[in-house]
Amino acid sequence: MRQCNLLNKCVILSVVVFLGLPAISSAQFYFGKNKVHYTNFEWQVMETEHFRIFFYDEERDIARMAARIAEDSYVILASKFKHEVYESIPLIIYSSPHFFTQTNVTRSLLPESVGGFTEFLKGRVVVPYNGSYKSFSHVIRHELVHVFTISKLRSVMRKQRSIRMAPPPLWFIEGIAEYWSTGWDSEADAIVKDMVLSGRLFSIPEMYRIRGTYFMYKLGQSICRFIDEHYGPDKLPLIFENWWKGRTFDKIVKITLGESLKDVSKKWEYDLKKQYFPEIADGGLAKREARQLTKSGYAVKGVPVILENGKNSGEWIVFKANRLGYSGLYMMPPDGEERKLYTLLKGERSAGFESLHLLHSGIDASDDGRVLFSSKSKETDVLYLFDINRKRVIHKYRFPELAGISSPRFSPDGNTAVISGARRSGFTDIYRVDLNDGSLIPLMMDIYNDIDPVFSVDGQSVIFASDRCLDGDNGAINLYEVLINSDSIRQLTYGNWRDITPDICENGIYFSSDRNGSFNVYRLNHNGTINQITNLLTGAYDPRVTSGGRELIFSGYQDFGFHIYRMDTHDSISAIAESPPSGTVSWRPASLGSEAVRSSLKYSTEYSSDIAQSAIAYDPVYGTMGGLQMALSDMLGDNIFYFILTNTAETKDDFITSFNFGVTYLNMKRRMNWGVGFFHFYDEYYNDCEGYYFERQAGGLVYFNYPLSKFNRFETSNYLRYSKKDDWPFLRVREALLLSDYVSFVSDNSLWDISGPIEGHRYNFTVGITSALDKGRLFNRVGLFDIRHYLRLGRYSAFASRLFGYSSAGDEPQRIYFGGSWSFRGYDRRQWYARNVVLASHELRFPLVDNLLVGFPIGGIGFQAIRGALFFDVGSAWDDDFDQLLGSFGAGFRVSLGQLVVLRFDFARTTDFEKISDRTDFDFFFGRNF
């Protein structure tokens, strides 16, 4: 059913005039999650030689750092690409990933895993500062590689006066961006090594199967590295130079490298095997060397506890996991989840627990049954104290000065905690939190990235990881100690590698380090020597030592996923003594000198075109749609104008009076989004009740949207319009000045599979009235509810329920169409046109085929996922008197055609609950499940 077509005539308004309104929430216009603008930033613009940097006052220092990083990166990339970008590149900086998710540069909701993005229409680069200078530098350069890629390809094609819309494959675009921004790193090494050793390496032709994932980035990085090292450093730039020479990427690669992609792939795979297979002689794999405690999804940050009280007293491991889609807190016995598993908290479904930062933040648990963890709640992170026995949050700490909170740890006495806190200005320091009164005391305030704090055994000092060391600007992280009552900081480990996630026990400090390539667990002894505890090829992280120091709990990466493992703390490799480096042991971030900054001004709104196109469509019900469509927006995407212009004249005399136009302005700068617009429409329409008629509508609208959180919002829309209906076969004319007011409450926390929602809920409650102002009476009224629930049964299976009701009454009630694949399956599309509708649907969704390749003599076609469905619908539609309930049941399957399109096939039979029809109705439809 076209549930969005709430108001028959307002369909035109919502489809044609107010193209932009859906964009107010990130969402589709009916459901959808919200992008909430909690803070109204005062933007400024700094201009450098090649960039326009957009920033707000709190992050001025970061903006200067960004300017320097960007200019340095520009010079390097101009050299690599042999190309200059002459337009000033817009670089939009946010001081926190949480503020970054509020950006309007893209309408999409940004998941936590997005570290920055490049928008292609205006070439905008948007990057948050996550506390790490190295990471910031990496992301900026990564995004600038995209900017250069686009500009270079355009330049090459323009030079050849040739047009080719197809971009390079995504693995190449992202792979070269990774390779030219960070070279090679231990994360890429672990992922590629894991694929090679597990025998599940994707060849280049198979890369479509992991399109868009982090794995694809890292494999692309590996392929680009291979091309660079084996075919020569001139070859990657030459692929861009030769872009005009071939019609396909394979052809261009063949021209450049002299070999097809298939041959390159074979050589690359062989090279990786030669590189990684010998390593297994010296190292091991987590599943072989340790006991795997978790099996499903991703599980990390395991904390061993011995609960003293309650019915669950004894040894447990508390951990974070994403088992099927949403992240949560769990608890299992020390020998694994198979025996018993408790869900402590389900996250990412409500405003209080929007994100548990699965991989980026540790948790802590104490023997008295308390768990400390952080979660994003609305704009910023909050610190939660959770009681295992009572299974509820017992305290919530929110610190206005902090945007981010990560890796909290209890003090030995349990009264205080240490956290890594990111200030609103972006810099990350260690803080002490009094858990009784909630006071926050910084242990240092500087520009370095201070993370993973842990109290010493006596509680007098805090051990933490920091990039304040010699090569910190190049990504090195070492361990430090700061005394609680003093600001003196002592360096504990030294070297150009990353020592992170320390844990203290009587024997020393256990930590994870990539000093030998992959991340492994080491122990810093009291005498300054270091023992290597694990020697795993694909990484060991987050070490926690059980009471007494006998066993080690850690997160290991293997077979594409993180799991929690347990092993003895024997010293596998002899001690290595470390000596402090001579000379200076700190660095300062480079920033652009004032002479290089051309200007720094307050941001003023400048509009430029987002899209301008000509499109036309005619629907007998909704009339003519399309024409000239144009959108203008400002650099930050906070203000948008939508224009549409078309003409429906049938004769020359009608030309002037038949212009259809609409202008809508949307303001999304603040939390309350609003829009205004005006329009004029004149066209011939049709509906099953009135037949053909002409209608002229002219008026304006006001729209408000107030998101309560990421999941819930209120919407209002008001239309004042003059409407004249001309029913020409019967020479009836109806004129009215109509005022329509609608209020909606929308809630959506659904999680989506490729074919539609699979977990969570979606609600829409709407009421509206339309008054005829010229007649001084009520014209019509409408009410709607749409409640959808998704109960997850497995990785790809779910039971979905929908309850929908609609009613309209008045002089000219607003009827809706009902029936067909999108609403009441088994019945004809638009079988009913009624003012009262009820529908209840139940559907069992399950996987059929995950990947299907069909071969033809001239090539093959691949389907990424085929899902099956069994459904049962009950519904009815009527005008004045309720008729009867009808039903239908059947089965179908959904085929994913790429990322955006889902083809649905349904086979259904109808029933009046007395007999079942003989005929099986077959229907197919493009669209996702309800």
């Binding site: 050299s79 690599k80 042999k82 200059e84 050849q160 020569g232 450093p233 020479k245 021209i255």
Partner: protein, 376 residues
């Protein structure tokens, strides 16, 4: 009357198309072809890119012409004409004195090699979709011979009626320039993207596998094979000492016979340009925007000039001056002895190919198809 206007309206563009836009270039049989300052892509067989001339160092516009497409290969001068290989598969000819359009040869694909003209014969490699090397008689525009060669992008040279060229099929070849017959050929490990240079009976092919190969020009015998660390993407300057640049930022001087390194210099940025060499110095531009002048015997830096963009257009020595373009869209003219800026000119588009010299002026082609003759 109305219909006559309509007919004229259709006929006129047709006539224009026939006699205007589609003008083919023909060389008159009675003209005496003047010697050219810039017959090869780097001026001479050694690829020194050095011309002794009375150039004033000024960059005033003498004439300007506009091609309908971007240059896809280097400009050359032959038969008294400026030859412009365009990206739309057309080779256009312009009068050297006035810039007047003289006609074109339709190659149907890009001529990345540039065109080499000897007497009335033009030699060119035609782009990837055609994959051939042809010899054209400019008197009648007829093809005299053709050889199938994959993606020839390196610039050929002609010595003693022999044409030396390399192709993307990892081949280097010696052809009879009059018949197109292959005299000798050899498979090489990489692709010679820049094209060969010649001196004293030896033909040099710099390859993208990092090797410099030297062949006996007569017999095709490999007499020099010298490996450098990084791909060689620009022409080498041949002579008693051979000057080679690689994209790792290395500039090397090696002995002609033995390949022994005389000196080497490592720069911070990749080098995609060819060196220019005069009596005393070697000049090279890099991707960091630097133009370096080095003592040709010791490799010591004499001076260095910084531009604000990547240098893709190889430097050219014009009398006492050094001319090069940077992607900052300036064409620079420096005093070759001191590196001081004599003059510079801003253009609204990039220059990718080196300037060519004719008499006292130089000619450059912008990426928007504008051709500018500059001088005093």
């Amino acid at each position: 009357m109305y219909s006559k206007k309509l007919i004229l309206l259709f006929i006129l563009p047709g006539l224009l198309l026939l006699f205007g836009c589609s003008k083919k270039f023909h060389l008159r049989r009675d003209i005496v072809i003047p010697p050219s300052d810039w017959p090869m892509t780097r001026h001479d067989l050694q690829s020194t890119a050095s011309v002794k001339t009375e150039f004033s160092g000024r960059l005033n516009v003498i004439w300007e012409a506009k091609a309908s497409d971007a240059p896809i290969g280097p400009l050359t001068i032959g038969a008294g004409k400026l030859i412009f290989p365009g990206s739309k598969g057309r080779v256009s000819f312009y009068d050297l004195q006035s810039g007047k359009y003289c006609g074109r040869y339709k190659s149907k694909s890009g001529v990345q090699t540039g065109v080499v003209i000897v007497d009335s014969l033009a030699y060119m490699g035609i782009g990837p979709s055609k994959n051939r090397f042809v010899c054209i008689n400019l008197h009648n525009n007829k093809e005299i011979w053709r050889v199938s060669l994959k993606d020839v992008s390196g610039q050929p040279i002609i010595v003693d009626n022999r044409l030396y060229v390399a192709s993307a099929a990892n081949l280097c070849l010696c052809l009879d320039r009059l018949s197109g017959e292959i005299i000798w050929r050899d498979s090489i490990g990489g692709v010679c993207k820049a094209g060969p240079s010649y001196d004293n009976g030896v033909i040099y092919f710099p390859c993208d596998d990092g090797k410099l190969l030297g062949y006996d020009a007569m017999t095709g015998e490999l007499i020099l094979e010298k490996a450098f660390g990084q791909p060689l993407m620009s022409k080498v300057v041949a002579g008693h000492t051979v000057y080679v640049a690689d994209i790792g930022g290395g500039l090397y001087a090696v002995m002609q016979n033995s390949g022994r390194k005389v000196w080497e210099r490592k720069f911070d940025w990749p080098i995609w340009t060819s060196p220019a060499v005069d009596d005393k110095a070697v000049f090279i531009g890099d991707n960091g925007g630097y133009l370096h002048a080095l003592d040709k015997t010791t490799g010591h830096i004499i001076w260095r000039f910084k531009s604000d963009g990547v240098i893709l257009s190889s430097p050219v020595i014009v009398g006492d001056y050094l001319v090069f373009a940077s992607l900052d869209r300036y064409l620079y003219c420096l005093d070759k002895k001191t590196g001081h800026l004599v003059s510079k000119r801003f253009f609204n588009n990039e220059i990718h190919f080196p300037a060519v010299v004719t008499g006292k002026s130089i000619i450059v082609a912008l990426q928007n198809g504008s051709i500018q003759c500059l001088g005093e």
